[in-house]
Amino acid sequence: MAMTLEILTPEKSLFEGEVTSVKVPGTEGGFEILNNHAPIIATLMPKGEVRIVQPGQKEQVFPVKGGVVEVLRNHIVILTEA
């Protein structure tokens, strides 16, 4: 099953689509989310970047200022304020 990612801010949706890997800057340390990751809710560092890899593409980087990441059944949601 493919893994989907949504990056949401109050003003718009920054990213929506299929990904193979997501690296997030968790407050307890950064980690990478791959296919079939266990359900997790983690807060993000006040200043950090989310690195994502889409199938067959290069790594993309999104800067984030805090927020939270939720992984559930191969669906990742990152909530951040800009």
């Binding site: 718009k12 949706s13 968790g26 307890e28 809710i41 983690a42 304020e81």
Partner: protein
Amino acid sequence: MPNLKEVRVRIGSVISTQQITKAMKMVSASKLRRAQTSIQQLRPYTRKLSAVIDNLNASLEGEIELPLATDRQVQHLAVVVVTSDKGLCGGFNANLIKTARKIIQNFQKQSGGKGMCTVIPVGKKGMDFFRKSDLRIDTRFVGLIQRPSFDQSATLGTALMDDFLNGIYDSVQVVYSEFKNPVIQYYRAHTFLPMVQDSGETSSDKKRTDYILEPNAAQIIAEMIPAYLRLSLHRAILDTNASEHGARMTSMDKATENAGELLKGLKLQYNRARQAAITTEITEIVGGAAALVG
């Protein structure tokens, strides 16, 4: 009998007024559309954030201490009054100000005139009104309504939360207008702080999943609550912005309609005057001709 030329001038001026109100209506309509889109864009984020908070609330063992939810005796009340910068939108701003004044009066009555009250206007109309009152006002955030952005709303939200935590304000009320549709606005007052916890909303118990929580539920919640509050404040500002354009649209539509009616009456008057003038002229000619023949 009104003079022909006078009526013509009046018709001209009513027509140009009508053109202006019509243009203003159309401008508001397009601004309204933009305001509505930004409200809609807020929705996915809001939904997800509430879902995460609910989920965490459910997995929490017992209540946790939330400093932002502490009820204190209110000695200093802050009222955030969200209004528009510009007028010409019917009773919109007047209604918002009225709602705010009611809250302030109630508070002063309850505290026996001893309580402090600070007004934080967002939008020039509110500032203009409260500047004339003897209340303390904080005008740092007046410009927020012009072009609402989350960043700015967040700054206001954070400032309010800091002041609440530092014991400057014991309660923060937000007066805003809820956008129902372009014609209907609800004028509302909402308790921003202390935060109201709605308990017992655990309807989705069955679908609960066991998440790995990092660092832990309490800390995630402590981080999510301010985010949620900032969001609700931003929402109030966006709603007021959309309502403003809705209200202006309706009032400009009414004005255009009224101008049309006025024009109808004036045209009738004008034609009557013209007809009268023609009749007089003919009578004069006929009279003159008759005098020549006779």
